[in-house]
């Protein structure tokens, strides 16, 4: 059974431990209702930022429109849940959301991913604005600027945890595979990648679609967290929030993204009582972090089971698995 090598088993154990520890803290009311909201938000941000990091950090394509795909997931799920206010409705909505979001991503990716750098950024920004305005103008289906309300609140730690695990598995497994390496090669040198036989458009598109897929999962969780959504929740500023997490954590670092989402989420919560000063402190922190640590927290570095095991068991085991 190669699937259950010791590194994968290590990851599995770590996740299970995290899940149960948090679950126990919730049960013991250490993480009370108020903290749980922060927790849900952090979980969504992790999912969103993982997907965006795949696009920006690993593929090197600058997207400023991540919130657009999140809104597709949120609306699909909300519409479904209003018809079927239970877990089945949520799951069907989630499914519908990822399908629609992936399709939209596929359709817009093929022409726009030819653009480079800032041009791509502005085009993706445009796409997410178009998505937002489309949702605004969909009549009763989306209820315009007022948005949809009355969805059941189903999101909880377990659901969020599964959302994160699903996104993590998709993204990490993808990165650490041959198609994933081909994708990273595009970031490193697009011309060289193409000369090594890599269909760059194809792999950019795949990364973009996976990003949209995961953003849609986060959107569905959002729709089932607050019982109301409106197009303004998914504007440019939301995309910027996600971008900040990605850059703060380090482009191309999954571990960094997770740490950044957690720390920024907690920072945000701690700053709540400061009222108007909150955003000023946040802004200064943002500038200071970028000025003093422009590469993010963990530039390219990752928490690695392999290194961890290597450090624990002093015997230098020869590298048997390709999974790092």
């Amino acid at each position: 059974m190669k699937q259950l090598n010791k590194y994968n088993a290590g990851w599995l154990a770590l996740s299970v431990i995290i899940y149960f520890v948090v679950q126990m803290l919730i049960q013991a009311d250490v993480i009370d209702y108020y903290y749980q909201i922060t927790l849900m938000n952090i979980c969504m941000d992790i999912i969103l930022a993982l997907g965006l990091n795949l696009i920006i950090g690993f593929t090197g394509q600058f997207s400023l429109g991540h919130a657009g795909f999140m809104s597709i997931g949120a609306y699909c799920c909300a519409i479904m849940m209003l018809k079927m206010p239970d877990l089945t409705g949520f799951l069907l909505g989630l499914l519908l959301g990822v399908i629609v979001a992936s399709l939209v991503a596929l359709i817009v990716a093929i022409p726009t991913l030819r653009l480079k750098g800032d041009y791509l950024a502005i085009a993706t920004l445009g796409i997410s604005e178009i998505i937002r305005i489309a949702i605004l103008n969909m009549g009763d289906l989306t209820n315009g600027a007022a948005g949809l309300s009355g969805m059941p609140i189903l999101n909880n730690w377990t659901l969020s945890f599964f959302g994160i695990m699903l996104s993590l598995i998709i993204i990490v497994n993808y990165i650490k595979s041959s198609p994933g390496r081909a994708t990273i090669a595009i970031r490193e040198d697009e011309i060289a990648a193409e000369s090594m036989g890599i269909n760059t458009t194809k792999y950019k598109t795949i990364a973009f679609v996976i990003g949209a897929f995961t953003a849609s999962i986060a959107g569905s969780l959002y729709a089932s967290s607050f019982s109301m959504i409106k197009p303004d929740n998914f504007g440019f500023m939301k995309s910027v929030d996600i971008l900040i997490i990605v850059v703060f954590g380090g482009l191309g670092s999954v571990t960094g993204t997770i740490i950044a989402a957690i720390s920024l989420g907690i920072l945000n919560m701690l700053l709540q009582p400061f009222g108007q000063l909150r955003m000023i402190i946040y802004a200064i922190a943002l500038i200071a972090i970028m000025v003093f640590k422009p590469g993010g927290l963990l530039q390219h570095k990752e928490l690695s089971m392999k290194k961890l095991f290597g450090r624990l068991s002093k015997k230098n085991t020869p590298k048997k698995e390709a999974s790092k």
């Binding site: 190669k2 699937q3 598995i169 998709i170 497994n173 993808y174 595979s177 041959s178 198609p179 994933g180 390496r181 081909a182 990273i184 090669a185 490193e188 040198d189 011309i191 060289a192 990648a193 193409e194 000369s195 090594m196 036989g197 890599i198 269909n199 760059t200 795949i206 390219h300 390709a322």
Partner: protein, 258 residues
């Protein structure tokens, strides 16, 4: 017909004809030299043949399984799939990645595990990864780079970077390998060693190698045929012996006076 046949190939940059009306032929399993002064259009010719630039006019035709296929205007990755690989004059490795990953990326087009098999970690994924890793290491061992597999490409010494470029190109399983000044920046001894290694690769892999190299004596030594470019035009072609005697070549290399 020949393995690769180029007719009247032309590339203009604005008013400059970097490559102009070039005829060029490659047979299978040979080592061909491409020489010419700086700015003659050698790199541009490689860029045209590998699809990085689209020709202004002319024909590039390759014989694949007995059938003729036009390669002009075809995307670089498709051309690579058809068996043309290259190195870059100004090294273009995937700098932040390991030596091993650089080679694995070049093997991707022949990899068997697709996106879904990779995401769901199907047995196919593990089989294909292991197979690719073995193959990559054996290619790296040609230049003794297998013991540096986990180093980042950017941290390799300059000479090793050039060798890694060659290994990476070989990993695409080419029929024709274009090497753009692989010995640039090396001392004469290193250059001689590398050139011998290139000859050996050409024979071991039974592929066609086209070599751009400035050290004339080396080119004369190891190449079976030589093409000479000057100002974008192919001014001569023939065996090393013929090229040495060719008045146009002598003039091009010794200056315009004569």
């Amino acid at each position: 017909m020949s393995l690769l046949q180029v007719e009247k190939l032309t590339k203009n940059f604005g008013g400059l004809a970097a490559v102009s009306m070039v005829d060029f032929k490659l047979e299978s399993n040979e080592l061909v030299g491409l020489i010419g002064p700086n700015g003659a259009g050698k790199t541009t010719l490689f860029n045209l043949l590998t699809g990085v630039y689209v020709p202004t006019s002319g024909e590039i035709v390759m014989e694949i399984d007995g059938k003729k296929e036009r390669l002009n205007g075809v995307k670089p990755y498709v051309i690579t799939k058809k068996g043309l690989a290259r190195t870059f004059q100004n090294i273009r490795l995937f700098k932040e990645l390991t030596v091993l990953d650089n080679v694995l990326i070049a093997m991707h087009q022949n990899s068997k595990a697709g996106v879904l098999a990779s995401i769901f970690r199907l047995p196919k994924y593990y089989r294909s990864e292991e197979g690719m890793r073995q193959e990559a290491l054996s290619l790296l061992s040609i230049f003794d780079l297998d013991n540096k597999q986990q180093e980042l490409a950017k941290n390799l010494p300059y000479g090793d970077q050039r060798c890694l470029e060659i290994v990476r190109a070989l990993a695409t399983k080419p029929k024709i390998l274009f090497l753009d000044e692989p010995a640039a920046g090396m001392n004469p001894q290193e250059t001689a060693d590398l050139t011998k290694q290139i000859r050996k690769i050409q024979q071991d892999f039974k592929i066609t190698v086209v070599l751009i190299e400035h050290d004339m004596s080396l080119v004369m030594d190891i190449c079976e045929r030589i093409y000479v470019l000057e100002y974008g035009r192919m001014i001569a072609h023939g065996t090393p012996g013929e090229i040495k005697q060719n008045p146009k070549v002598i003039k091009a290399y010794l200056g315009g006076e004569e």
